[in-house]
């Protein structure tokens, strides 16, 4: 089984945490903050991603993690 994290796995993680109403409506290359994800939900998303994929996301890396695509690349690099 591949260890590669896919967009589907990231969206499933966000969906399971009840953090976004419709994850399938999220544009992958648009900042989440422009798609109705506020700062608290963004913290919640990062927390769930850290937990599910076993990665640690330091505060200093957050500025570069504004879109689903950037999160995807980051997590696969960290794993």
């Amino acid at each position: 089984m591949s260890n590669v994290v896919t967009v589907k796995k990231i969206l499933e993680t966000i969906e399971k945490a009840h953090l976004v109403n419709d994850v399938n409506a999220l544009a992958l290359d648009r900042p989440l903050s422009e798609q109705g994800v506020d700062s608290l939900d963004f913290s919640g998303i990062l927390f769930n991603l850290e937990e599910v994929f076993g990665v640690e996301i330091p505060d200093e890396d957050i500025a570069s993690l504004q879109t689903i695509n950037s999160i995807l690349i980051y997590i696969n690099r960290k794993k």
């Binding site: 945490a17 009840h18 506020d38 608290l40 939900d41 913290s43 919640g44 990062l46 927390f47 850290e50 937990e51 505060d59």
Partner: protein
């Protein structure tokens, strides 16, 4: 057996509206109501100290259940914003209320986990020393240390105080068990050297990961299921954190009490404030869960039963 029988409360009438700060902090009303969960923050008068708030909560207690001061055998204050460094605030409260010289006084320095910790400490202290009546105060006036320009903290905290009357052999809430813990290595995530600093993400991660485990562990230790608990009184850190814990534990939302819209996060007073509204409605045999978490980083959970 020592039971929690009555709770006196005090919330200042003066309030600051978070709705006046939407532009300043670039947030909308939905964020204030549905995420922060604080519309108004109570504010003591600038000159008032923790002991003043304690005394006002005691006046409320006296209205509920007239108490003979001579019968009070211990007086404990939970605060991290004491009137002054020396002496302990409980001594000031003791003097102001005119409690008897035989009454033991000490402070407990804890933040949002303070009430749950202190219930264990004070009931054990009373039992060990054969005491019948004790007063457990909470008062942590954060308005003295808040930076009103700091978005991470300015929208959250309100001032308030409570006093719990603990009595032996009286109907009330009795603790069935506790779970405690600390992550002292992360203490800098919530700290004050005169002005409060909070790393919101670190505190959120701590709470979301630790509190559900604490509650599960406690239920398991007591051989109880979450379905056997009639209501949950979680520390009102924010609506978002209460919702997060509830979701992660799979709690029935109708059983999770939430009420901080009108006053904010009152630190160690939040759980007794919530509980005060329901205390007399809890029926014999019903069980409730309480959990406090925050400064330290520290947590404490307990299951109480009405006897």
């Amino acid at each position: 057996m020592i039971a929690l029988t009555h709770i006196g409360t005090y919330l200042p009438e003066r309030k600051i509206s978070n709705l006046d700060l939407l532009n300043k902090f670039e947030v909308d009303e939905s964020f204030i109501r549905n995420k922060i969960g604080v519309v108004y923050r109570t504010r003591k008068e600038v000159h008032e100290k923790a002991s003043d708030l304690c005394i006002k909560s005691f006046e409320n207690l006296q209205e509920q259940t007239p108490l003979n001061l001579e019968d009070v055998e211990c007086c404990i204050v939970v605060t991290q914003n004491p009137d002054m460094n020396i002496p302990h605030t409980s001594a000031i409260v003791h003097g102001a209320l005119g409690l008897p010289e035989s009454c033991a006084c000490f402070d407990i320095s804890l933040g949002c986990s303070g009430y749950v910790y202190s219930l264990s400490v004070v009931t054990a202290f009373m039992q060990a020393n054969g005491m019948s009546k004790g007063l457990l105060f909470t008062a942590d006036p954060y308005s003295d240390i808040i930076d009103e320009n700091d978005k991470n903290t300015a929208l959250i905290f309100g001032d308030g105080a409570t006093v719990s009357l603990l009595e032996s052999d009286q109907p009330g809430l009795v603790a069935l068990g506790f779970d405690f813990g600390s992550k002292g290595a992360s203490y800098k995530s919530l700290i004050s050297d005169g002005r409060l600093f909070m790393n919101g993400r670190a505190v959120f991660n701590f709470t979301a990961s630790t509190v559900p485990i604490s509650i599960r562990k406690l239920l398991e230790k007591l051989n109880l299921t979450k379905e056997q608990i009639d209501a949950w009184y979680l520390h009102q850190g924010s609506k978002y954190i209460v919702d997060t814990i509830s979701t992660r534990l799979g709690l029935d939302r109708d059983k999770v009490v939430f009420d901080m819209y009108e006053y904010g996060n009152t630190v160690s007073s939040s759980i007794p404030l919530l509980l005060s509204s329901d205390l007399y409605k809890i029926q014999k045999g019903q069980k409730i869960g309480i959990s406090g978490f925050g400064v330290g980083l520290s947590w404490a959970s307990a299951i109480l039963e009405k006897v």
